[in-house]
Each structure stands twice: as structure tokens, then as C-alpha cells.
Subunit: 229 residues, 4 copies
DNA sequence: AATGAATGAGTTTTCATTCAT
DNA sequence: TATGAATGAAAACTCATTCAT
């Protein structure tokens, strides 16, 4: 009140005003809560109430930020895709051999997943352990980008003229499925995962690295909560 | 119950009591409706009401057959798993080389999927094109079985001593992801899919078969409904 | 902040303190917005939010001027009644014949309505074309005043000893209903309306003026908005 | 229960089954509650909750019968309009003089209103005594019908060639406004009201019947509630 | 068994009002 | 004094489940 009307247009610079800050904070509070809740209950079963409850905010506040569960979800997936897709694409464009193409794809992906587990964690139904993977439009766009990169690589004779669609599918399938295994080991070992997947794609099962001992982490549904908190 | 699913368009052969017949019929009506609804809305978002609505039956009737959405879901799962898991396991037990192990796994899987698309079709949210894959407990049990089979194969020196968990994950990832691509081509070509996946796992990308031209079928979300009906 | 919303089109005339001016302006902004909103949604369905939205002001600002929807409404009412009631009363007090009493009542009323359409415009629900007429306490007080004037006229033998309540009702009914017809013709013709109503009250249907051609104006619900803006 | 499965398709006849009966009853419970609530709070301010509360039914039950407040309201107004419009039209078609046309219109209308007060009772805001009249599409259709009947009467030389729109407006205005006065007297006297209005329209104020003594009923807002109950 | 309306707890959403900036 | 985000009470609506027929 004593700070007067405050002409905040100019001197603002990096200050951002407390209001601004709170808004950003609250938005993140909601997004994080939503990530947790989706992971715990699955997207379909999650309710806006569940998200609000996982937040210190009031119910009405949710609607100041998002119109619906769908909209929160959009926001989450956009964050993820925007972060990882350019990285993957750049790496692949630099590849001059099959080895590089394959290895950088897997390495970059697994490292991202290991860093940002929350966003990739496969959703599981607490009740029945049903596993749900949602590939949002942005993620699917990432698949398309991979396919295009494969086509480009084929035209540069980096790859033999294989079906780019099937190869993309195989890479995606392995990436997601192996990611999940990786997230179950402790500590997460993106390098081992990448080496495994890369070796498989370059030489088949007979070229795979010999068994690495890994411990099953004790992670269970119960722990998801604390993870995300 | 012993009179089986019974396509009831045909003359009632062995004449199970009409009562009996209706019971079986209604059960199947509900299960089919549930499959559709789960596919369209996802398991979490689907409601018992949705399932009933997709049925000519009254709401109360649902509860004569199943206690809840969960129970219908269990029933669906069991049908699928009971059908495919033993086949996969048997085939793999007969394998005496890596080649056989890998190829029979993919071939059997893709053939089943091509036959029984409804149950494997990846769920898509009509609204936002979100892709959802649900791995039910039974399906996950199938994954475990695969891992055990891999371990057995390793101990028989069929495989080198790789990480069975990661190999299982890779096989599963490729199987599901490639299945989906396969379901988009018309006619479905399980052999091509199996050949691709098998070659990849045996020799890596450089061993992959050369490009097969395939046509995108016109399949879209819109058709899911009629598919399943 | 002190540079204000300020309708700065015209030179600021008499230079009331800028502060002062803004206050009056904002008050009018709110009142006008409220008139619109009440007209569009009806009083009961209108919300303070609706009013604020129809304003360039912030929600909190509303409460600097009015405590509630009720209070704005009172203010609107008062404006209207303060404008028209004294005029009607004065005219009628000057009447020395039935003819004068009736004709001045209708003429004054229709002229006011034609001038200040916004406040008399019958409310219509855009959605369902429902017509809503609100007679506010002030308006009803105007009715009472009319009845008293009728009683006074009867006691002065201007009128035969009719039921003043029923006569008042008839005058009011015709005044409002014919007003509305008048507002639908373009240009508004308060004289024709007054002549019609006066003739009816003085001689019945057989004394009515012969048909006047009138054009339906293109006015529709859609235009209410722009009218009031 | 002892009546067994009861093949109710045939022997049903006039029986209608208890279920049927309950449905009709509940529908009426809701409609009556809605009439009360609209009368007490005004249409806009009334909520579905208010209607449900005025009913012995559960909240969900409301939605088995009507989708929204709007829909209940539609049902109410349809009931009214369907009841009164044909009667008015028939009477007017039989009229062979101005006198008959006017008198039957008013008489029929006032009698109906006196009989079915609930549906015509002008809505008042408990809080601020605001009067609200809603002319629904059906009611407006009744206005149009009157205008057409007037046009027909003019072409039959029953009426002089007056503006049918204005005459309709005047009749409607007087009918509604006088109705309301009538409802305030006790006992309701539709004949007096009709005589008054008819005399006014046939001969103007100088032809009006001499004052009838009438008592103001003690009706106040507070009593509306019990009235409608 | 089948039916389908009733139930009421739970979810979604809106809104008046407050209050820190 | 203006702003507009936060609040939480209340309204709107949905749904699994029961139960009379």
C-alpha cells in the first residue's frame, strides 16, 4: 500500500512483481500436482478435485489457470515435448553413421527420461496395476520427426532402404519399454540402457552386452507419491 | 456356459436351455460393449453407464453379471490372456535356436493381433488423439513369462547371458509398437511384421529386409466404432 | 494510474478534479453495463461478474462504487423514476378534462420511452425469446401515483366514479404494451402511439384512428447489444 | 411381487402400472415446485436446487425428468398455452360483432386466470418486489393469434381498419395488467374485470361501469408462499 | 432374471467477495 | 483508488448402485 500505485512498466526489469511470481508458482503447483495424480490414478480416473487436493490452493483457483483436466494435461505434455524433441532432432542431424544415429537417439532419450522421470513415468492404476501409456499429439509429432530423420538418413545412405515406419516403431517401442525398466533400477543407468538398445539395433541379440547386474529398486505404487512430491 | 460364446445367428445346434442361452448372450453383450467403451474412452474414464448404454440391456441387468467395471475388465483380460499366453509359451519352449525363439515369438504374436484386433487395438482418445496403451495384469504376466522363457533360454545357452529384463522389454516394445503399424496397413500383414522384427533382433538394422511398399489403410478413429460393433 | 481510463475524446470542459471526474465516469460505466446486462439476462440471472465483464474495470473496483447487484439496481431505478414521474404527475395535475388527463399521460410516457429506450426496452432472453418485464419499486410507485391522480380527478368530477385501480391498470397495461410496439417501428412514433391509446381510452375501438402504415424495423435481439453499448 | 412377472403388454388397459403413475406424479411434483419457486424468487434467480428442495425428491431425480431449469419452464408454459389458446381462438371465431369479440376475449381470459392463478401469477422478487412478467414463445404465439383474429375481424368489417398490432397490444396490456389487479381482490371476480375491460374497449373511460367496491386482499409477498403451496 | 427410476454422494463449475500489491 | 488472483460456499450435474415392479 505504501509503495503507491507503482508505475511498474519501466523499472520492472528482472523484478517480475510478487503477483507475477505467485502466478507462475501456482501454475507450477497445479502442473506438478497433476503429474502426480495422473501417475497415481491414471489420466482417465483422475479428477480435477484430486489435482486440487494435491495442492494448497482453493478449488476455484484451479479454474483461474486451466479450464479443465484436459487443459492441464495439454500443458504438461507440451512442456515435455518442447524440451526433448529439439534435442533429439539436433543430435540425429549431426550423425554421420548408423551407429551415431542410433546411439545418440537412445542416449539422449534415456538421459532425458532419467533426469525428468516424473514426466515419463508410466501411469499405473493403483487399483489394478494397469499400465497406461499416453502418447499425446506432441509426442506423436516426435515420432513423425524420427521417421523423417530416418528417411533423410536413408537418402543419405546412412541406412539401408528399410521401411522407415517400422524402424521408427521399433525404436520407439524399445525406447519407451526399456525406459521403464531403467526407471525401476536404482540408480537409474541411462548409459546401460542406451548401450543395450544401441547394441541390439546395430547387431541384434548376439551383439548385446553381457548381463549387467542390476538391483530392482523397491519402488512400488506407494512410493510414487513421495517421488513426485 | 459350456455352450461357449456361440455366434447366435446360426441355428442353436445343441439346444442349451433358452435361459442358459440368454445368460451367455447377455454376458457377451456386456463384454463386447465394455471392450468398445474402454477402447473409446480409456478404462479410467469409462463408466458403467457408458457400458450399459452400449448394450440393449437395462442398467440393473449389468449387476446380474458383474459387480463393477473392474470385474468386467478382469473378464476381458482373462479372455485375452488365456488365448494368447499359452500359445506363445508353447512355441518358445519348442525353440532350439535364437532364431526360432525370436521368430516364433513375433510371428505368433502378430498373427494373434491381426486376428483379434479388437483386443489389441491401441486406444485413442477421439477428442485429442491421445494414444493410450493399457497393459493389464494378465498382459504383464505374459511379459514375466517371456522373461522367464528368456532366462531358461540363456541357461540352455540359446542366448548369450544378456539382461533378460531388458531383452524382454525390447521384445515387448517392438511387438506392441510394430503391431500398431501393422494394424494401419491393409491388408494386415503379420508375416512382414514378424520378418522385420525378427531380422532386427537377429542382425540389427543392417540385416533388415529392404523396404516393402505398404499402403496406409484409410483407417481412422471414426472406424474404431464400427470395427468393434 | 492517475492517467485513468478517461474518455478523453472531448476537451474536459469545466475541469472538475480529475479524480472526481473519474469517479463519476466509472460509476456511469458500471450503471450502463448493468443496464445492458439486466436487459440481456434479466435481473435475477445477471451476476456481478457479468456486469464487471461489460466494463473495462477490474472486479474489485465494482465494490468501490456499489455493495452489490441490488445496489446498482436501485441506482438505475432511481435515475429512471426521478426523470419521468414528476413530469407525468405535473402534466396530469394541469389537466382539466378527461381528454387532457389521458392524452398527456400517454404522450409524456411514450415520448420519454422513445427518448430513453434503453431503460424501457422490454427484456428478452436471447436464448429462448422469453419476454421479461420488470416493474421496479420506483415504477410501481409511479403506478400508485397514477392511481392517486385518478382518484383526485374523480373527486374533481373529471372522471366518472370508476374503479381507480382498474383504470390505472388498464392505462399502465396499454402504456407498456404499446410502448413495445412503438419501439419496434422505425422511426419511433410516440405521437401515433399516444393518439391510438388516447382514442381508445376516450371512445373505445370504434373511435380508433384508421390504420397507419408502419414498417417493422429490422431490430432484433442481436441489436440490443449494440443499442445499449 | 405376488403378481408374478406380469405380462403387462396386454391386460394393461387403463391400469397404467404403478411405475407409470409414479412417473407422472413426480413430473407434476417438480412442475408444481417449479411454479412456486419461480413465483417466489423469479425465474432468473431460481435455481434447480430451489426446485428440488421444494420437492420430496432427490436431486438426481430432477435430471431424470428435465435437463435444466429452462426445460421445466418450457413444460410449464406449454401446459398453460396449450390450455388457453384454443379456447380464446374458438370464442373469437364465433364472434359476429365487436362487442362479442372483445367481451369473449376478456371473459375467457379472466376466467382462466381466476381458475389457474398459479400459472398467471406475476412473478415477484421477494427481496425487492420487482415484478417480472415472462411472455414465453407460446404466450407470444397467443398474441400473434389474437392479431390474426383481429385482422380477420377487420376484413369481415367487424372492426374498423385499425392497426391490428396496436389493438392487439392494447388488449394484451389490459388483459395482463387487469388480471393482476383481479388476483389481488378477494374473491377473484373475473366478471367484473371482464366487464370493465370490455366497457373500456367499447366506449372508452366514459362508458366504464361505476365503481365497484372491492377489498384489497391482504396478500403480500409473505403469503405468496402459502398461496402456492 | 430383467427392468429402469430413485437415490444421494461425489464431481465439476461458478460466483460474490476479499485482499495483497 | 484500481487491480485481479485467491478463496470457498453454493450451484449444476453425474454416476454407481439399489429396489420395487
Amino acid at each position: 500500500m505504501d509503495s503507491a500505485p507503482m508505475r511498474n512498466d519501466l523499472p520492472r526489469a528482472a523484478a517480475a512483481g510478487k503477483r507475477e511470481q505467485t502466478k507462475v508458482l501456482n501454475r507450477q503447483l497445479i502442473l506438478n500436482a497433476a503429474r502426480q495424480v495422473f501417475a497415481e490414478l491414471g489420466y482417465g480416473a483422475a479428477t480435477v478435485r484430486d489435482i486440487i487436493r494435491a495442492t494448497p490452493l482453493a478449488s476455484g483457483t484451479f479454474y483461474n489457470y486451466f479450464k479443465s483436466k484436459e487443459e492441464v494435461y495439454q500443458a504438461i505434455r507440451d512442456e515435455v515435448a518442447l524440451a526433448i524433441r529439439p534435442r533429439l532432432h539436433d543430435e540425429r542431424m549431426k550423425a554421420s553413421t548408423v551407429e551415431e544415429f542410433i546411439s545418440c537417439t537412445f542416449r539422449t532419450f534415456f538421459e532425458y527420461v532419467a533426469d525428468d522421470r516424473m514426466n515419463f513415468r508410466t501411469i499405473r492404476h493403483a487399483a489394478d496395476n494397469t499400465r497406461v501409456r499416453m502418447d499425446t499429439p506432441e509426442v506423436i509429432a516426435g515420432f513423425e520427426e524420427l521417421r523423417e530423420d530416418i528417411e533423410r538418413a536413408i537418402s543419405k545412405n546412412l541406412f539401408p532402404p528399410v521401411d522407415p515406419d517400422l524402424l521408427m516403431a521399433a525404436i520407439v517401442g524399445v525406447a519407451f519399454e526399456v525406459s521403464e525398466r531403467m526407471l525401476k533400477t536404482s540408480p537409474h543407468d541411462p548409459k546401460a540402457a542406451a548401450d543395450f538398445a544401441t547394441a541390439l539395433f546395430l547387431g541384434g541379440v548376439r551383439a548385446l552386452p553381457e548381463m549387467q547386474h542390476h538391483e530392482e529398486s523397491g519402488e512400488s505404487n506407494g512410493e510414487l507419491k513421495s517421488d513426485a512430491a
